[in-house]
């Protein structure tokens, strides 16, 4: 069951990362919908899965246009995937990277956030970590509250909380004092967030966060100061930042403030999104997105040579083992995935018996086998210039003038023991990808080509064989197919580098044949320097093509294709008669591209 859920999504580039894991942009294959997928590596969390459960339970009980929509969550190995709605406009913090916002924009954002908070508070939920970094924008300008990592659900609408959570600069005095607080704490944080949008930093940004914790309860409430801000704006901020929570207005009351009532439509925020995109573009960010990389499970094959000696085999254990064998039985086609996870339990009694006679030999293998091999997702930058260029957010973070303090405030989202890091700040773990990559490279597949070859096999060739195999009826054809599949898996094991070169050759030959070129669609024309090989082979269009050729009912992929109509080379279901024409147009377009980007060929 697990794993099958993951295969319903195709992951694209990385959106952000932190100590909890990585957020990817992805596509739900069945619907073509773009989603954001958060991967949490549960192996790296000591504490109970309860915390994460809490986050999911708060999110999944929200249904509001002002809160990021939760879709589903499932396990893949020891990674938890949380699927959420995708918001392409970036976070509030991203917007600030191109400078402070204008008051009129802030008014819109505040109104939308108040609507979101009003919803949450009516539901008995407290967000507890409101700040620019946790505000997400859609490309349409819609504003939504995100990251419910420390949110609380009250069973009683009037009850209070004591837990000390949030991010120091944004924390309300009563939260710091731990004297019991309620949803009013979010209102304070909203006021701080408004200042953050206006000044590009929260108050006290230059102070050490731990010191801020002493400052906030003692010092008078921060105020918005400056000639350029209207009185309405200042009043609004002052109302949010009333130190006594009982005298602080509710979200509903704040919606009636002049500053909010005269705010414009949320579409006006599109300007901001565009400003940031231009800004990113000018700074050559986003040019080399990190692509998702499937876990390389091959290494775990090394294991199961080494085991305990259990000489007496009793009936109950035998039953147990048989059972697990059956369970894992249907997974056999995905040979890599089942690997060592079940290795210990999959052994038959016969195996155990035969071990006995081989005892000496085994003892040696104990010594020579590494003790544990963890599965880690590699994140490899694909472009050639990658090693020198960091991801966009990281790069922008380094350029920020107030880098050290901003950095801390945003990355330590948690005060969940200061361990979690908010979704959208990447400033920590600068060399994460490099480290993980080293860990993951099995010694015999050191070269990049080999890794790509492996990846191509795991992600493309093997699934493709399985797919076509499943659609093939006749016994003879199936046999022929399985022969190649087998031979190819041999190649993959012995010479992944050769596998890569073979694939490369095939692809480039296909590309150069004008009639076959229609097999080869490019999904992201804006970034032609991405690795041709993998994107192309991965392309769902190719799969749907294959499917059509093997005269199977068009399925999910077609719906996806439909949604991508803005790209050339598409054909609408029901419009197949125009296919030839679009194919011709498409290959012309590809030719044009090739002239402009010679590197593609």
């Amino acid at each position: 069951m697990e794993g099958s859920a993951a295969s319903q999504y195709r992951l694209l580039e990385e959106l952000g990362s932190g100590s909890f894991g990585v957020v990817y942009k992805g596509i739900e294959i069945a619907t073509g919908e773009i989603v954001a997928i958060k991967h949490i590596d549960l192996e790296s969390t000591e504490d109970d899965i309860l915390d994460i459960q809490q986050e999911i339970s708060v999110l999944s009980t929200c249904d509001s246009p002002w809160v990021t929509q939760y879709k589903t969550s499932f396990l893949k190995g020891h990674k938890l995937w949380i699927v959420m709605e995708y918001l392409g406009g970036g976070s509030g913090l991203d917007l600030l990277q191109s400078g402070p916002l204008h008051e009129s924009h802030i008014a819109i954002i505040c109104r939308e956030l108040l609507l979101g908070l009003d919803y949450l508070h009516r539901e008995g939920k407290i967000h507890r970590d409101v700040k620019a970094a946790n505000v997400l924008l859609a490309e349409t300008g819609k504003v939504k509250l995100a990251d419910f990592g420390v949110a609380a659900q009250l069973t009683n609408i009037k009850s209070q909380r004591n837990t000390f959570v949030g991010t120091p600069f944004w924390m309300a005095p009563e939260v710091i004092e731990q004297s019991g607080y309620d949803f009013k704490a979010d209102i304070w944080s909203l006021g701080i967030t408004a200042i953050e949008f206006a000044n590009a930093e929260p108050p006290n940004a230059s102070t050490h966060p731990m010191k801020v914790l002493f400052l906030i309860p003692k010092a008078p409430a921060p105020r918005l100061e400056g000639e350029n801000f209207s009185r309405d704006f200042k009043d609004f901020v002052a109302a949010c930042l009333v130190k006594d929570p009982d005298r602080r207005p509710t979200a509903k009351e704040l919606l009636q403030y002049r500053f909010i009532r005269y705010a414009g439509r949320s579409e006006c925020l599109q300007e901001l999104v565009q400003r940031r995109q231009t800004f990113d573009h000018n700074n050559e960010r986003n040019a080399h997105p990190r692509l998702y990389e499937e876990t390389l499970n091959t290494i775990s094959n090394l294991k199961d040579t080494d085991n305990w000696v259990f000489d007496t085999i009793k009936a109950p254990t035998m039953v147990t083992q048989k059972h697990t064998q059956q369970l894992s039985g249907h997974k056999t086609t995905k040979r890599r995935r089942t690997s060592s996870k079940n290795a210990t339990s999959e052994e038959t009694p016969e195996d155990l018996l035969s071990r006995l006679t081989l005892e000496d030999k085994q003892q040696k293998s104990i010594l020579s086998t590494p003790m544990t091999i963890r599965k880690v997702t590699t994140q490899r930058r694909v472009s050639r210039t990658a090693s020198s260029s960091a991801t966009k957010r990281k790069a922008s973070g380094q350029k920020l003038p107030l880098e050290p303090s901003m950095n801390f405030g945003n990355s330590v989202s948690a005060v969940r023991q200061f361990r979690r890091v908010s979704d959208h700040s990447l400033r920590m773990l600068p060399n994460l990808s490099m480290i993980e990559r080293d860990e993951n490279q099995p010694p015999e597949t050191a070269s990049k080509e080999a890794l790509l070859g492996r990846r191509a096999y795991n992600k493309v060739i093997d699934p493709a064989f399985q797919e076509v195999f499943a659609q093939t009826g006749s016994q003879i054809q199936r046999e022929a197919l399985s022969k190649i599949a087998h031979a190819w898996s041999g190649l993959d094991q012995d010479d992944p580098e050769g596998e890569y070169h073979l694939l490369r050759a095939i692809i480039s030959k296909i590309q150069h044949d004008s009639k076959l070129a229609c097999l080869y669609h490019i999904s992201q024309p804006s970034s032609p320097q991405k690795p041709k090989l993998i994107l192309a082979q991965n392309n769902p269009h190719l799969k749907s093509h294959r499917r059509r050729q093997s005269s199977v009912v068009p399925s999910a992929d077609d719906i996806w294709a439909e949604k991508q109509m803005s790209l050339p080379g598409q054909h609408t279901p029901g419009m197949e008669h125009t296919k030839q024409l679009t194919d011709v147009l498409f290959s012309k377009w590809v030719d044009g591209l090739r002239n402009r980007w010679p590197a593609l060929g």
């Binding site: 339970s57 999944s60 069973t155 305990w308 000696v309």
Partner: protein, 361 residues
């Protein structure tokens, strides 16, 4: 005037809602049924909890709770949660919480009439809430209500000692024979399936409730585990400890450690660590390729080794693997340097194993 109007509308609320719930079970369900039901449930919730601005009125609440008891509304509601629309499922969760928690006003004994009613004459409500785990939609609201109800021991007893088939009359509390061995029919045994097979949200929520059942009321659980030892641990080891789901596996190993190390479960613990096959299972966990599984496995393994009265079977396995263990343990999770307790326990185990006789074959 307003008061009169309100109190009239309130008595009209429960019965129509109950009728609408029955209609949910006879498809096709018209959208109007759902809408009307949603409206009534929202209204009930509002009466019970008030709003942020206004307190709820105690008389109205009492009156509503009494009506809910009279109409046997909780059972209809519990079994239908998964059929309700999104917002109504949340409302239902609140209604349950408030109604079960409700105390008769001005009563020093703190009598909870709805809870008492369920425990004494309508335990089917508890089972219906458990069966909420059959559906993704109802799992979480049912889980929240169940865990709150599980603070009361009789609720745990109802769940553990149920022997009924779905929709059958179940034994009342005073009919339960706490010394009888259970068959696998009861609702408690379904938790294994819900945890192992359910979608992530269902599985983790069911596990949280399962843990609550097994850890909250110690005497009750100890007695239950003693009597149903074989069936319980056969299932526990096979379905949960060897689950394909990482989360289930890791959480259930941890819970196993907690159960065994609980003083109240002493006799359960001694029986568990007597069995050779349990030790094997546990030693295999030490060799799992995921560190947290190894780590949780260690906390069960240590019980076997530290046990001063090892059974022949356990002793034999340890002796046969003495050299291997002595090779293996020093390197086991050696990067856990900041975990003093773990390091201490590990070196204690190594010393224990060193005192075992070398293989005498």
């Amino acid at each position: 005037m307003a008061f009169l109007f309100r109190s009239k509308s309130k008595s009209d609320i429960v019965k129509p809602a109950k009728d609408l719930l029955t209609r949910l079970w006879q498809p096709p369900v018209s959208p109007r049924t759902e809408e009307e039901l949603a409206r009534l449930l929202a209204q009930m919730k509002l009466i019970l909890q008030g709003t942020q601005e206004t307190e709820s009125s105690p008389e109205q609440v009492s009156q509503l709770v009494n009506l809910i008891i009279q109409e046997d509304f909780l059972f209809s509601l519990a079994r239908s949660i998964y059929l309700l629309p999104f917002e109504s499922r949340k409302d239902t969760q609140s209604i349950f919480s408030y109604v079960l928690r409700h105390k008769t006003p001005n009563n020093p004994n703190g009598d909870q009439p709805a809870l008492k009613h369920v425990l004494q004459s309508r335990p089917e409500v508890v089972l219906a809430l458990c069966r909420g785990y059959q559906h993704k939609e109802s799992a979480m609201p049912c889980g929240v209500v169940l865990r709150e109800a599980l603070k009361h021991e009789p609720v745990a007893a109802i769940i553990m000692y149920d022997q009924s088939q779905e929709d059958e009359r179940i034994s009342r509390l005073d009919e339960i024979d706490f010394d009888a061995r259970q068959s696998e029919r009861g609702v408690f045994w379904n938790f294994f399936q819900w945890i192992d097979r359910g979608a992530f949200e269902v599985s983790t929520d069911a596990f949280t409730t399962f843990r609550e059942i097994l850890t909250k009321h110690k005497q009750l659980v100890a007695q239950f585990l003693n009597i149903n030892f074989d069936m319980f641990f056969e299932k526990y080891n096979r379905v949960l400890i060897q689950s394909n789901s990482y989360v289930t596996k890791r959480q259930s190993i941890k819970l196993l450690g907690e159960i065994l190390l609980d003083r109240a479960n002493y006799s359960v613990m001694t029986e568990y660590v007597d069995r050779g096959e349990h030790l094997k299972l546990c030693m295999n966990l030490l060799k799992d390729d995921r560190k947290m599984v190894q780590y949780e496995g260690f906390h069960v393994f240590k019980v076997f080794v530290a046990n001063p009265h090892k059974s022949a079977a356990v002793q034999k396995i340890l002796v046969n693997n003495r050299e291997r263990l002595l090779n293996f343990l020093p390197k086991f999770l050696e990067d856990r340097t900041d975990d003093d307790q773990f390091t201490d326990e590990k070196s204690y185990l190594i010393r224990q194993i060193e005192t075992l006789p070398a293989v005498s074959r």
